[in-house]
């Protein structure tokens, strides 16, 4: 009797295992088909209604004195930099033009998925300096890190939302490529070897971002009409935002002013 019941139990177990096995297989089956289907349909901007946002970012305080960077810890860097290196964390041009501010669409594009550009974003380590200092990249877009210097660098994006990593790159080493998968404003980047080297990476899930140029201007083009929150970030001055409704085909303007001390 006991033997009988244990045989029964064994059979039940087998059937159950079989059933689980089957259902597990069934669950697994649709997966490859899923991959073949285009997982997402990318949003396409209608050229007939595409708008532009331009603007100027200004700084009203006293123009900060230029601070000299001391690279003497690595004589090869002094040589590679060709001339004096100045701190670029707050660069103010004529009429308070603020360079190196990151401008992006913070709200208003929810639900839209954008194709990832095939061209990589490049950060070059040249003259013991990150070039450019402020860089925007789309989620999933390739970041290419180049070392043009005769010294070893160790690039270290101190990401909090994305994965933090650091990687050594010796003189003559081939470029390395990385991706950031989640939006993150902003990822501070340092060189683990040269304390003065800093950069910032803005990761956004759309192509609508810009870095203000030396004259403080920026342009975000090919934008679908809509109501947006535009965010601005500057490494020393913090963040600002502005709401703006952009009509079809409009050349909208959004200026920002940071008050200095």
């Amino acid at each position: 009797m006991r033997i009988h019941s244990s045989i029964n139990l064994f059979c039940i177990c087998c059937v159950a295992a079989l059933a689980i096995g089957c259902s597990g297989k069934k669950n697994a089956e649709p997966a490859p088909a899923h991959v073949e289907q285009p997982a997402v349909s990318y949003f396409k901007v209608d050229p007939a209604t595409a708008a532009t946002i331009t603007g100027t970012i200004r700084y009203t305080g006293k123009k900060p004195a230029r601070k000299l960077i001391d690279m003497s810890e690595d004589p090869a860097c002094v040589e590679a930099h060709h001339g004096k290196a100045y701190d670029e964390s707050l660069v103010v041009g004529s009429k308070g033009a603020l360079a190196n501010a990151f401008v992006y669409i913070k709200k208003g594009l929810e639900g839209k998925t954008f194709a990832v550009p095939a061209t990589p974003v490049v950060i070059d380590q040249r003259g013991c300096w990150f070039r450019p200092r402020i860089v925007g990249i789309q989620t999933g877009q390739v970041l290419q890190v180049v070392n043009s210097d005769p010294v070893t660098h160790n690039i270290h994006p101190m990401a909090e939302i994305n994965r933090e990593w650091n990687h050594s790159q010796g003189p003559g080493d081939p470029p390395m490529t990385r991706k950031f998968l989640k939006p993150e404003i902003m990822i501070p980047v340092k060189c683990n070897i040269h304390s003065w080297m800093h950069a910032y990476i803005g990761v956004v899930d759309n192509p609508y971002f810009a870095v203000s140029s030396d004259d403080g201007t920026f342009a975000i083009k090919n934008l679908p009409p809509g109501t947006y929150t535009i965010g601005v970030w500057q490494e020393k001055l913090g963040t600002q935002e502005q709401q703006l409704t952009v009509a079809p085909h409009q050349d909208a303007v959004a200026d920002f002013t940071f008050k200095g001390k």
Binding site: P75, N154, H156, N166
Partner: protein
Amino acid sequence: MLENGKSGAESTASFISILFRIRAKNRYAAPVGTVLMIGLLALCNGCKSPGSDKPIGSVVQIKVPLGLPPVPIPADNPPTVETIALGRRLFYDTRLSKDNSLSCASCHNPEYDFTDGMSVSKGMGGQKGVRNAPTVMNAAYLPFQFWDGRAISLEQQAGSPMANPVEMDQTHDVSVSKLEADPEYRALFVKAFGPGSITISKIEKSLASFERTVLSGNSAFDRYEFGGDQKALTPSQIRGLAIFKDPHRGNCAACHTINKNYALFTDGKFHNIGEGVGDDGTFSDVGRYHETRVVTDTGAFMTPTLRNIANTAPYMHDGKVKTLKAVVDFYAGGGNSNPYLDKEIRAIKLTGQDRSDLVEFLKSLTGEMPPNVGPPAKE
């Protein structure tokens, strides 16, 4: 002579293979044992038996230079005058390779302090390997051989590159028969091991015994650290040594060990420093994991000695780091992040002066080349 030797060896080999074929076919048949016995007797009459592979000559106490501990010696292979000399001869003999173009010394060249000066070594027909040739110097002290530790003795290591298709690319049987064809070698092996034919085990043991004499010590560092010579190091090197030892600064000695009475500059263990990690975070060369299949060993390689390091560029298991400054910078930067990074690897705050002091210190680890380790004189 060589032709005769070859054909002799070939006929012996085919005879053995016939025997084994008979044996395999009639594995459970009673008469096979008898047939086998007769066959073996015939074999012994027809040619020499291998004999013992225990050295018979006069045992040598290997002299150790300042800064090194006694050389560990396996019980079954005490170094003798004869095996050391034979091993030296074998080490430089290109007949141990398929087309007689490569010897052990091709990649472990005394002119490059027993390395080859290349990122990765070139084997038969110029084929590139995947790893940087480690120095033979002080390999006698290592608990493991090869970057991934796949051999646990010099004896075990010695046979591997000979037969590796991307290295010397010659089967052990062929190596043995090529040496057997040389009466001089036959005599040297008999002198070293007693009567019997040449075997791969005897070749490996001789090579290992020779390698146990390839020692590097009595460097400027040794004279300073263990010899009491305060002037042996420059002020920069003394500062570099302090940074090297200090767990809160260089932390180098955590793996590149310095003991109280000697220094091997390796803990003989496997560490992941991130070298070789790809853009996708994986290792094309998994290193120690290949041997252990322990996930945390992924990308871990054995700590190399730092002795004579100034003469053995380029560096790391893949030879990708070209200069000592780049090595120091690599560690100062905290290596390359990856899931298996060793806990001792982290970004270190080192000034430019600290880094150049470390490089200067590393230059003080070049020891004296021991006598009688170069190519044997041709008689």
